[in-house]
């Protein structure tokens, strides 16, 4: 007898274990064994668990939803379950089996859409007054589910009165059911986890842990947990809804809840993004120390979580049925809506990417798409939250993590590309865009973005032109056709500036103009197209045509900086310096701290007024440079790294710097390549050589490169050299030398610095030194026309006319618009008694001079 009792006990624990794991198949098997044995002592239990397994198996296939569509079928299937449960009810009342049976009945009747009966059973079971003892996991789950079903049944029952107070009370009751259900469910899951980890601690290998089945939460409990906060929000109480979300999320997670956590974290982030603003946000309460309420860590008072306590019921005993929460002194508690949103999204992202399915086999397609969409939803929210704060770096890294499961997912790839562009990782962005293009070859936006990268940042003119052509292949009906033509035009125009051969150059210039014209015809209300036509005409020195188009452009957008600048240069080409200066003044009134305009202004002032005036403007430029860059640079040296990040983290100041420094939308590098003083052929190669040389220099000498963005320093160099030039024209070589010294302390190996040194020596008639500096400048940048021209002149002065002629021919070949070079060449030829050629050269020089602007037109950036 004792043995059998032991056996019964063993059986009972086994049943209990399987019940807790919801392994109904096993439970049924054991129950059937018992049934066949006919052991009377366990009859009640047998009936109970048989009924239970029938019911649960049915529910697994037909989850409780809005309304059971097939009540008749359900009745039939659940008949046996019903019978077993009825038997169980008749049995002796010990072990609380009757209560369990009642709880199961409630569920059963809900499945049959008989909500009255369902609620009746719960009332009989005394669901609301359950006293807390040590409960088995199964019992916990049952109670949690019972509360969930009760909530659902209450929602289904039609309101009995029209009294608003009554209805509100009813709603309150429903929410309270869900909240209780949720709390108990979380506790249940934590208990399960505890049980598992203790049983697993013996076999400690990680693979065994991974293989352990995680507890099944089930739609019922998930609904209960998610429904409570949503109901709060639907009733208009956002605050309570948010706090309910928080309460659930603060519960210590178990493996089973991971998926739900991902959803809940995302949902709370959604609520914060869509329903809360800074002034209505109240941060979560910091956790209280463990001393206060033992393992419960529930703040005893406090407005925010106070609601939860109220809902938990007044019985203090019920408090035990709460899940454990994260506690500790060093927990991060968000204080701002952005902080909390980001934290939630990061958690959600981490879970979503973990869960994302990589297998691409047919059988997993459905779940793969499901996990992908979950991840995608998080990424979309992350994008919305991070772009608002200009955190592109972080965003691009997040997308980077998503790439592993985003094969053939155009949306994610494209977002990745865009985030890379925003984060300034152009090279990589282009690679990603190529992949996007492979996926959607007909998407004009992809090609346009790629072209933009090629022109504005990567200096890949040919590839950019190819991208532009891809846009044009889509036909002129495409809404982006005009943009495609614009891209083509810019590409051709840029390429023309670098082209070595005259014929090729002319052809490219013509192509560029045609493209801009086409763009304009497709989008007539776009000032950019008009501006580019104007610029293109200016580059081929058709000044009056150019002026016409620029004026039209300004009619459409009277604050367009580049148009204003171009107009000023065009007027200067017509030698209307007064008017040009007036235009610059107007432009400066709109863009007072634009250094590009100020450079032009200095030049004009030298002509119109005198050098003193120009020097005053230079002083203003230095002040401007200081006020805009110095704080940033000093910040830099003290912190050491990541200046760009910090600058970009503040989108407003970044925009400001853009306007100040580079006078265009988003090119940092452009201004450097085309500083206003330099001539056409100031190539990228030259700046690279300079950089390489400075690196060498810094390794040999004590020269240490200045910290901070090179562009900012280059601008300062440019200002110093401009001042030096003015001093030289004022016949003050010593002051000029001092300025050059200043510039050279920043960039000792810049060809601009070399050239200026040469000029000073030439002024002092120190021809040999001058020659040395000019040839140094030319060897750094073989395309520096001014150096070439002066080198030619010096060589000629030194008596080496043959070499002088060669150098000067070289110069006019590279830039046939430089009248200085033509002029010098003419003079050299004249001395060699080649009068015919000389006169031709001089004539060309005169012609060119009549259309030459005060600063080359190429100073104006050509950007997509």
């Amino acid at each position: 007898m004792a043995a059998s009792k032991k056996q019964t006990q063993r059986l009972e624990t086994e049943i209990e274990k399987h019940r807790a794991e919801c392994n109904w198949q096993k439970v049924t098997e054991i129950a059937k064994q018992l049934h066949s044995k006919g052991s009377t002592s366990l009859e009640t239990l047998t009936h109970l668990i048989l009924g239970e397994s029938h019911l649960e198996t049915y529910l697994k296939e037909h989850p409780l939803k809005e309304k059971n569509p097939d009540i008749a079928g359900a009745k039939k299937t659940l008949e046996s379950a019903k019978k077993h449960l009825q038997h169980a009810m008749k049995g002796e009342a010990k072990y609380g089996w009757v209560q369990e049976a009642r709880l199961l009945f409630g569920k059963l009747y809900y499945a049959l859409s008989d909500y009255e009966e369902c609620l009746g059973y719960y009332a009989k079971a005394g669901l609301d007054d359950l006293t807390v003892e040590t409960m088995s996991n199964r019992k916990l789950r049952m109670i949690a589910e019972a509360f969930a079903v009760k909530g659902m049944a209450l929602e289904k029952s039609p309101p009995k009165t029209t009294s608003k107070i009554k209805i509100a009370q009813m709603e309150e009751q429903i929410i309270s059911c869900y909240e209780k259900s949720g709390d108990i469910a979380l506790l249940y899951l934590q208990e399960c986890e505890k049980g598992r980890s203790s049983s697993l601690s013996a076999s400690s290998s990680s693979s065994a842990f991974a293989a352990a089945p995680s507890t099944y939460v089930g739609p019922l409990l998930e609904t209960a947990i998610q429904r409570a906060p949503i109901l709060h929000i639907q009733m208009g109480d956002l605050e309570r809804g948010i706090n309910r979300f928080r309460l659930v999320l603060r519960a210590v997670e178990s493996r089973a809840t991971q998926n739900m956590r991902m959803t809940l974290a995302r949902q709370l982030a959604e609520v914060l993004l869509r329903g809360v603003c800074d002034s209505t946000y109240s941060p979560p309460q910091p956790p209280l120390g463990p001393d206060k309420s033992g393992s419960l860590s529930r703040p005893s008072a406090g407005g925010v979580i106070g609601t939860a306590i109220k809902v938990a019921g007044m019985k203090s005993a019920n408090l035990a049925l709460r899940p454990k929460q994260y506690i500790g002194e060093h927990l991060f508690v968000p204080k701002e809506v952005t902080e909390e949103t980001l934290l939630l999204l990061l958690i959600s992202e981490s879970l979503a990417t973990k869960e994302a399915i990589l297998s691409r086999s047919e059988e997993h397609t459905k779940s793969r798409v499901y996990t992908l969409q979950n991840a995608c939803a998080v990424y979309d929210l992350l994008t919305i939250a991070l772009v608002k704060r200009a955190q592109y770096e972080m965003l691009s890294e997040s997308f980077d993590r998503s790439m592993r499961f985003s094969f053939e997912e155009f949306h994610l790839w494209m977002q990745f590309a865009l985030s890379l562009i925003c984060a300034g990782k152009y090279q990589r962005a282009l690679l990603v865009l190529r992949e996007c293009h492979r996926m959607e070859p007909k998407n004009a936006l992809v090609a346009l973005h790629a072209a933009k990268l090629c022109f504005n940042h990567l200096q890949r003119m040919d590839e950019g032109i190819d991208w532009a052509k891809k846009v044009l292949e889509l036909g002129d009906d495409s809404p982006y056709a005009h943009k495609g033509y614009q891209a083509l035009g810019i590409g051709c125009s840029l390429k023309a500036s670098e082209a070595p051969l005259q014929a090729e150059r002319q052809e490219l210039q013509k192509k560029a103009l045609d493209a801009f014209m086409r763009a304009y015809s497709l989008d007539e209300n776009n000032h950019e197209h008009l501006f580019y036509i104007g610029l293109q005409y200016a580059l081929v020195r058709q000044i009056s045509e150019a002026i016409g188009f620029v004026r039209k452009s300004l009619k459409l957008n009277d604050t367009h900086l580049e148009s204003l600048h171009l107009l000023a240069l065009l007027l200067s080409a017509q030698k209307k310096y007064q008017e040009a200066l007036k235009v610059i003044e107007i432009a400066l009134s709109g863009h007072p701290s634009n250094l590009s305009l100020l450079f032009t202004k200095v030049k004009l002032e030298e002509f119109v007024y005198d050098s003193e005036e120009a020097l005053m403007t230079c002083k203003r430029m230095l002040e401007l440079w200081k006020s805009t860059h110095e704080s940033m640079l000093s910040n830099e040296s003290s912190r050491g790294t990541g200046l760009l990040e910090r600058v970009t983290s503040d989108k407003r100041s970044l925009a400001h710097i853009h306007l100040v420094e580079f006078s265009d939308r988003d090119s940092a590098a452009k201004y450097v390549q085309n500083p206003p003083k330099s001539s056409v052929h100031n190539s990228i190669a030259a700046s690279r050589v300079e950089q390489a040389l400075s690196e060498v220099a810094s390794s040999i000498h004590s020269y240490t490169p200045r910290q901070g963005p090179q562009q900012a320093w280059l601008l300062q160099v440019q200002i110093w050299l401009t001042i030096a030039e003015i001093y030289l024209s004022m016949k003050k070589p010593d002051e000029a030398t001092a300025c050059i010294q200043e510039a050279s302390s920043i960039f000792p190996l810049s060809h601009h610095v070399m050239f200026m040194r040469g000029l000073v020596h030439e002024y002092k008639h120190e021809f040999l030194e001058a020659k040395k500096f000019y040839s140094d400048a030319v060897s750094i940048n073989p395309g520096h026309i001014k150096s070439l021209q002066h080198l030619g002149v010096i060589l000629h002065d030194l008596g080496n006319s043959v070499l002088a002629e060669k150098v000067l021919r070289n110069a006019v070949n590279m830039d046939p618009t430089s009248h200085h070079a033509w002029n010098s060449l003419g003079k050299v030829l004249e001395c060699q008694d080649e009068f015919d050629s000389a006169s031709q050269c001089l004539l060309t020089a005169v012609e060119l001079e009549s259309t030459s602007p005060i600063i080359p037109f190429t100073a104006i950036p050509r950007l997509l």
Partner: protein
Amino acid sequence: MATMEQRMLQEWIAECKSLSRAELSSYGRMLKEQKEITEAIYGVFQQPDNELRDSICGQLFEFYRSGDSECRRFCLQYIPSILYYYLTPSNKNKSLDRLEALLLGIYNLDVVEVDGRQKVKTCIIPTLAKPSIYHEPVHLSSVALTESALSSHQKKETQLIKSGPFPQEKIITAQNRFSILSHVLYIYNTGIACMKGTSHEILCKMCSHLCTTGYTKQSLTPQTNGSLSTSTLSDSTSLLTNGYPEYQPRVHLSPEFMIEMLTGVYYVMFNGHQKSGREALENIHYVACQQLLSEVILVTSAIKNSLSSNPSGQPADGPIGISIALTPSTPTFTRAAITNASFKARRVSRASGK
């Protein structure tokens, strides 16, 4: 009718003028109740010319300057109307001095602390490497070992997002116009939940209006990506363009301003203005694509994608558009498939097995 409103407003302004500063702050609570006045002021900004506009701007600034939160809110609710009026190209040659003064005043008051120091707002970028009230780092180790993941481990100090300090501005120029306007719109957005429906509706209208003026109809209709179920052209635009689209200059918005617009529109579309919100979104998206503004396209396509297909709720799904998202019913559905995490575990176990 118009004159009656006009008279009412005149009396109201006179009344406000007579209030002392102390009274002004207590007046704030009453402002909320004055529906007729509120509506009438909206009306003023909708008319092309109204002689009271300047004095209303002055009064609104007085309210904003009083520092009382209700008074400020009262002023801020008109920001969309004011920006609508201010940025409409046809209003360019009207006297906008007082309007600019109001916008500039709001901006300048917000960029400094009460004691005159420049305001710098900071916000912590949370990291999963440190425990929070919502997670334990052990359970959420990031899958990818990126450079930044490493550096964030090394960093002792938490990463901060800093905004500010912003310079005080004396005058609105083409150069600083949109940074000032963006900031003003940002101030509006920080209190957007306290604004009324009318203000929200006008916000959407403003966005649609600024993004459609000057764009011709035929360039708006064909869209390559994304279906345009809602009508793209708002009624106001078709009225304004009036058949001469090419003579209506475009409004040249900055990306940062457009992102602020989107922040507001995103809130509004989930709080009762689904239709006009979506319309505004489509219009902003169109302009962003035309100008290849990558940061704006990032946001617009994120919102569009989350609206078209995915588990995040729709604006129609009740408030805030959240609905219950259940885990697919079969509990073992991922067991066999290789997930991102299991892939890593597998590689680790294989490596350690060898």
